[in-house]
Amino acid sequence: MITAFVEGGVIVAEEEQYAIEMIGITKRFPGIVANDNVTLRLKKGEIHALLGENGAGKSTLMSVLFGLYQAEEGIIKKDGKEVHITDPNVANDLGIGMVHQHFKLVQCFTVLDNIILGVETTKHGFLQKEEARKKIEEAEEKYGLKVDLDAKVEDITVGMQQRTEILKMLYRDNDILIFDEPTAVLTPQEIVELEKIMKNLAKEGKSILFISHKLNEILETADRCTVLRRGKCVGTVNIKDTNEEELSRMMVGRDVQLVVSKDEAKPKDVVLDVDNITVASRVHKTNAVKNVSFTVRAGEIVCIAGIDGNGQTELIYGITGLSPLTGGSVHLCGKDISSAPIRERSKLMSHIPEDRQKHGLVLDYSLEYNMILQRYYEPQFTSKAGFLRRRNIREYANRLISQYDVRSGQGPVTIVRSMSGGNQQKAIIARELDKKPKLLVAVQPTRGLDVGAIEYIHRQLIAQRDAGAAVLLVSLELEEVMNVSDRILVMYEGEIVGELDPKKTTTEELGLYMAGAKRQDRKEAEK
């Protein structure tokens, strides 16, 4: 059942009291209406999901609520009283906390310092960190969000940084909690934990708004769900009255295939041969990847599964050349690339990086300049004299933009920083796939994307496979691992502890390998 609210501020008589009401919110950016008369009402103590495609305006709406943007039209009420949230400090005073999609942490501070930053308790001007530590440790214990409080943020994984953000909110005793795609980086087990935490928090009277693309998560966790499409509010539904198909239809505006169909893989020659490699950790002095060997053949998708932080990142760094190998060798199409420069590798290999803003994009460059980031030196983009061929670049960018449906405010000249996360990812995917690589390395390519985009990317991965490319996929999402891959390698503490066939295994078995509870002797398995 869809309860469409009357637009324009006519209040529907309701018994319940709302913690937050956002009525008729409109927010414009140059060339785009990010929110178009959107109405959202958050009941006290409920978990309210906000669902929508990339660029549908979910993050913008939440930023309006959090005071990062001011809406051109519409009003916000808290507990029935109209409020003007002019900046995040006002939001914080009203008890509104937010975990952003891209974390707002000071890289060179410790976790503890980051959590107390801005609300430090002091005595005679000196920091009282021990009090804070106690409070945080209690929260850690209570919600099972273990983080090393003394580690520096730059040294911990994305998953840990996310936990820091959540703790930050809990530490501030906020009672309206906004989660911007909180589960995107968590492991399946952690997601279950988080869902429990969210339910507990709601039970204690906290109201939760969370943005998610994952329909199953919304169905499991949320009480109600508001769906946005292209900036407009499609409707609000009660979760118990709806299902996955209806939600995805509301979000995308058409039927979406949730499981991608694919033919049997026809593996051919070995494209990537990883032999006994070792890679140093980015954090510790130890090796994060220990004596890993595997091959990827043309025409197959091999998926590295595992919980975040078990050496997948370093393994990919070693293969793509971002980090040097400390042992072993890597062959690409029969050529030893163990110590080859990145440029040489990238001629045969495409790499969709894990951290799209750190590695994948130059955020202050225009979209067209980002589209040529991996091939700007080619004769079609650079003349013999070393000048950029701007017309070719524009044409090329326009082709990729339309072919891969990359949405942005001003087309090829849009500064990438102003684009939504999903469209930034699409830009990278367009750039990397258009290179027609022999080997495609994709690290969490669907992280933070909506079902429509995920479906699209999965199709692209399979199309690359069918076109004869070898695909190495690193994923934290069990569903993705099971649906897309032809072969699964499970990584645990820097080693490959199992090789599984997705058709013969179950998510439960996969989970046991990922958690280190089970392991194969691979030499035996290969026999």
């Binding site: 039209e73 590695h359 405010g409």
Partner: protein, 399 residues
């Protein structure tokens, strides 16, 4: 209509120019206040004298001659500013430009005076000397991760004393100054001096420095090399991911920066306008003023041309302060204050950008609040939606 106006207010170039002008005005105002505080009766005349610079001369011929002098010193300043600007685009702060300028002076003067080399050879040697100093900073940065500011500042002093030592061999026997540059070592004027009342110091160095500014702009904005360098400056992780050689780019950038600053010295000393004092114990301010010129110029090589001229104009203008009213150091102080405030361009730009954004929002809010009553507001909302849709279409067309 409104949209156009707001985008104009937040237009990059417009903002840079406006912020630069505000900085200059604030700088002049503070300078005036300082003069006022020291001796009120001479303040107005004093600040006017600084602003007027060469216009202090009553005849046009004399004014042109002294305009020429300002231009002669603008050329080296512009080169130093370009050096800093170029490196800044790659995320490097080349404070070592001052030292690179100094060794450039050593190389060109020694080549001219000891070896009687022609001017173009001297110029090339100045470039090489500055380049080597830049290279040293670059190597330390790329391979030992030594901050370029620290190594740059230390090299400034090494450069200064090295230069004093080398040029001690070609100084006048009775004074600490180097002997006059003569003959083929002087940069040719090609008739330019005639334009400035036969000011013989005005040479092709002036137009050459402008050519270099344009060249720097072209390299940064139009070439593959510039694309790489700016990408490295914006995000070195992405540059690495894209297979760019970050270490090579850092070294090259600082080397080119060094060449530009070194050449700047040749542009001044090979005109014969100034002699090097081998007993000086401070690094010439040219490289440091270059920092102010870069920022005043909105970090654009083209803007830097005008900014450099203005800064040199104020510096030269300082000497016209009435010495009977103010002690001679005051002129330097006032110029320094004005130049210092020129460095605040970024700050003013930020403030203006925020104000423009706030104004737009206030307008939107006012527009939303005018209609009263639920039915009216519903209609207004519908209207707004219509407008928004129109806007979207417009945006789509633009793409």
């Amino acid at each position: 209509m409104e949209k156009k106006k707001s985008s104009f207010l937040r237009n990059e170039t417009f903002l840079s120019v406006a912020a630069a002008i505000i900085c200059i005005l604030v700088g002049l105002l503070v300078g005036f206040l300082v003069l006022l505080a020291i001796k009120p009766e001479g303040a107005w005349a004093g600040i006017l004298a600084i602003i007027k610079n060469f216009f202090n001369y009553p005849t046009k011929a004399a004014a042109m001659k002294y305009l020429g002098n300002t231009l002669v010193k603008t050329a080296p300043l512009l080169m130093c500013a370009l050096s800093i600007n170029f490196c800044y685009k790659v995320g490097l702060f080349n404070i070592g430009a001052a030292g690179q300028y100094v060794v450039g002076a050593a190389a060109c003067l020694y080549a001219a005076l000891a070896w009687n080399m022609p001017w173009y050879v001297c110029m090339i040697l100045a470039m090489i000397a500055g380049g080597i100093f830049g290279l040293a900073v670059g190597f330390l940065k790329a391979y030992a991760n030594v901050n370029e500011v620290i190594s740059g500042i230390m090299l400034n002093w090494i450069g200064l004393y090295l230069t004093n030592m080398i040029l001690g061999n070609v100084k006048e026997s009775t004074s600490p100054y180097t002997v006059n540059v003569k003959g083929s070592a002087l940069i040719p004027s090609l008739g330019l001096s005639a334009l400035f009342s036969n000011n013989k110091y005005v040479t092709i160095a002036v137009p050459l420095s402008i050519v270099f500014a344009i060249l720097v702009w072209v390299v940064l904005e139009k070439t593959k090399f510039g694309y790489e360098l700016r990408a490295t400056g914006y995000n070195k992780d992405a540059a690495k991911y894209a297979g760019m050689n970050e270490k090579k780019n850092i070294i090259l950038t600082l080397m080119i920066g060094g060449c530009l600053a070194g050449l700047g010295a040749a542009f001044l000393y090979l005109t014969g306008y100034e002699q090097w004092s081998t007993t000086q114990s401070s690094v010439p301010g040219m490289g440091f003023n270059g920092i102010a010129a870069t920022f005043l110029g909105g970090l654009s090589p083209i803007g830097t041309i005008f900014a450099s001229f203005f800064i040199q104009h104020i510096t030269s203008g300082g000497s016209y302060l009435d010495k009977s009213v103010y002690p001679s150091q005051i002129s330097d102080l006032i110029s320094a204050i004005i130049i210092y405030l020129c460095g605040f361009v970024m700050f003013f730009k930020l403030v203006m950008n925020r104000r423009a954004a706030a104004r737009e929002e206030a307008k939107a809010e006012a527009a939303a609040q005018t209609p009263a009553g639920a039915s009216v507001s519903a209609a207004a909302a519908a209207d707004a939606r219509q407008n928004a849709d129109d806007g979207k279409e417009e945006g789509g067309k633009k793409e």
